[in-house]
Symmetry: C2
Subunit: 109 residues, 2 copies
Amino acid sequence: MSKTYTAATAAADVETTLNWLAGRWKLIILFHLFGGQVQRYSDLERLIPDISQKMLAQQLRQLEADGLVHRTVYPVVPPKVEYRLTEWGQSLCPVLDGLLKWQNAKPPV
Amino acid sequence: MSKTYTAATAAADVETTLNWLAGRWKLIILFHLFGGQVQRYSDLERLIPDISQKMLAQQLRQLEADGLVHRTVYPVVPPKVEYRLTEWGQSLCPVLDGLLKWQNAKPPV
DNA sequence: CAGTATCCTTAAAGATACTG
DNA sequence: CAGTATCTTTAAGGATACTG
């Protein structure tokens, strides 16, 4: 259960976590899903005008692979695909709040 | 005081924060300074064997510019430079703890 | 000791075109 | 509608040599 932390291992663990969020578009996708919002692929395209189809699909695949996002495919024609956060993905919201609070505590230069 | 948050602005704010930590070596440098530790440039070189001098200097400059790290130059020969966290930099530690807790709450795939 | 300066490599992202 | 595939661009990082 317990783990011996060195600077290197602790840094590596945090880095793993940050890498889940590190894509150019991942945070903005996540914020469009926080609060239980459900979005279709085309909704996200509309909400994030500057993203290319390649990047949208890629970032969604990575978020899905990392367990943050759940993808639902409805077998209809034309295709319908919905994205929502997993429960664990939702639980990221207060963590990011903590990050924002820290940011806002930054003293003036 | 108050701020109107949209998905885009909130994402941008979090991204700003993540960018302060995003360099390849920044986290490991930070973890070598948490807890009030003071390190000389050569200490960090020794503690982080794989880092090049260029990267060590560059990442330290960025951390300093972002207000996380304080640099003290002693006007002696040979030169002596010490790095320590600012108070605000120290206050990042519990925030990263929150991140690690979230990571550890990840359900098995 | 504590750095710069310069050149090179590589991964991420962007642009564009195509498809079941 | 919801994607792939392919090619090009760019910025971060790495290697190496030099210096006050």
